[in-house]
Symmetry: C2
C-alpha cells in the first residue's frame, strides 16, 4: 500500500499539477541550485551511452544529447512525466522507457554513465537497484546521483524550529531508524525511504563501486546573494550528491 | 589561541580529572559502546605494525598487543595521559611517543594499520594529517578511525530539545559552516573542529584512500536493553566510524 502510493504519486493529478509548477519543472536544470555542483561531477559526455534513472520531464536527457552523448535512455514510472518528456524531445539520441526502479532490469555493460536526480529516496530496495546499475555499467563508468539528504528525511516532523534566540534549527530524530517516512510535499502522504548516509555509501561499496565524491549540497556565497532563501541550506543539507565509479 | 586550548585541554587539571572518571577511561574498550562496531572493522592484528593516533591511556595499544601485534606506537599530545599509559603498560611491543597530530611526521610505509579513536575532530588541518597517515601505511593497509559525527558537532547550541508532543529532537544548524565549535564538555571552552561528512570522506579520497565502510554509530537493540540511556543515539548519531584502505 505505502509502496504503491510512493510509486504513483507523480501521476496523481494534485501532485503532478503542483510538481509541474516547480521552478525546476518549468525552467529545467539551470533552475536547480544544485545543478552546477552536479555538473562538475559528470565526465565529458561526448559519445557516451547514458541511463537516467527517474528522468522526469527529460531535462537532463535532452541536455546530455546536446553535449554529444551517443544515446540517452530516460527511465521513469510516471506516464504523465514521460508523456511530456516525449513531447518536448526531438533528438533521436534520446529515448524514454516506462519502468519501475524497484524491479528494473538493464542490459549488462551497456552504459558509460548512470545518472539519477532525486529519485533513489523513493526506492525501498536500494541494494537491488545499485547492483543492477553496477552490472549495467562498463568498468570505469560513473554513477552520479542525488537524493534527499538523510538529515532532511529522518525527522518525524520535518520543518524548521525557531529557538528562543531567534535562530532557526532543523530538529533531527529517528536518524538511525531507517524506512518509510510519510510527509506532505506537494500532496499529502508522500512516502520516502529514509536511509542513513552510511547505509547509502556501504550499499554502493558492497556492490563493487568506489566512492569518488560525497557532497552534502550547500549554496555558494554567490548563490545566496542572488537568492537569499537558499541561506537556510547552510543550516542543514537537503540534498546529497554522490559520485561513484565501477 | 583557540588551537592551543584545543590541543592542551586534556592536560588541564579539571578536564583531565573529569575525563579520567569516564567509564571508558576507567574500564577501557569494553566500556565504550561503539567498540564492538569498531572491532569488526579491524583486520586481524597478528604480526601487524600499528600506529594509534591519540592513544590516550593506551587501552587500544595494550589490547592490540594481546592480539599479537608486532609493534604498537601510541601517539598523544597529553603528558598526563601518556604518563598513565606508560605506567599501565608492561608489554615491550607497545611504545608511546608525545607528538602533536597537527604537525606529526611518520616514517613512510612503516605501518600496517592506523587507528584513531575520537581524536581527529580536534584537528584543524585534517588534510595534512590524512596525507601523512597515507604515506606511513603500506599499500593495502587500513585506516580505521572514529570521530564525533558532524550532526553532533554542527550545532551552535548542541543539546536535546523537547518538542510539544514530548519527542526529543536534536537541533541542527550551521551544518555547512565548517570550523571551530566551542563547547562545554567536561570543561568550559573545549574547541572542536566541525567538518561535514562529505569533507571528511573527500579528504580521504583525495589523499588516495578507498572508502571501505562508513558507520554512523547507533546501539543494537541488545545494547539499548542493557543500557536504556543509549536509546537516544538512535535519534541522532554522536559518533562516526570510518574504515579506509591505502
Amino acid at each position: 500500500m505505502e509502496r504503491e502510493l510512493a510509486q504513483n504519486v507523480y501521476d496523481t493529478p494534485e501532485f503532478f499539477e503542483r510538481y509541474s509548477r516547480l521552478n525546476r519543472s518549468v525552467h529545467g536544470l539551470d533552475a536547480a541550485p544544485e545543478w552546477p555542483a552536479i555538473r562538475v561531477l559528470l565526465p565529458d559526455l561526448g559519445g557516451r551511452r547514458i541511463v537516467d534513472l527517474g528522468c522526469g520531464f527529460g531535462w537532463f536527457a535532452r541536455w546530455a544529447a546536446t553535449q554529444g552523448a551517443a544515446h540517452v535512455l530516460g527511465i521513469d514510472l510516471s506516464e504523465k512525466m514521460l508523456s511530456r518528456a516525449r513531447a518536448e524531445t526531438a533528438d533521436p539520441a534520446v529515448q524514454y522507457v516506462k519502468a519501475d526502479l524497484e524491479s528494473l532490469e538493464l542490459p549488462e555493460g551497456a552504459f558509460d554513465l548512470a545518472y539519477s536526480s532525486l529519485a533513489f529516496h523513493y526506492i525501498e530496495d536500494f541494494g537491488r537497484l545499485v547492483r543492477t546499475v553496477f552490472r549495467a555499467l562498463v568498468p570505469g563508468a560513473n554513477l552520479v546521483f542525488t537524493i534527499e539528504h538523510p538529515i532532511y528525511t529522518a525527522p518525524t516532523a520535518p520543518g524548521w524550529l525557531v529557538r528562543e534566540d531567534g535562530r532557526k534549527t532543523w530538529p533531527i530524530d529517528r536518524y538511525a531508524v531507517e524506512g518509510a517516512r510519510i510527509t506532505d510535499w506537494l500532496a499529502k502522504g508522500v512516502v520516502k525511504q529514509h536511509r542513513t548516509l552510511g547505509t547509502t555509501l556501504n550499499t554502493l561499496i558492497g556492490a563493487g563501486f568506489a566512492i569518488r565524491h560525497v557532497q552534502e549540497w550547500h549554496p555558494t556565497p554567490e548563490q545566496v546573494a542572488a537568492q537569499p532563501a537558499l541561506a537556510e541550506e547552510l543550516e542543514r543539507p537537503m540534498m546529497l550528491l554522490v559520485a561513484a565509479q565501477r
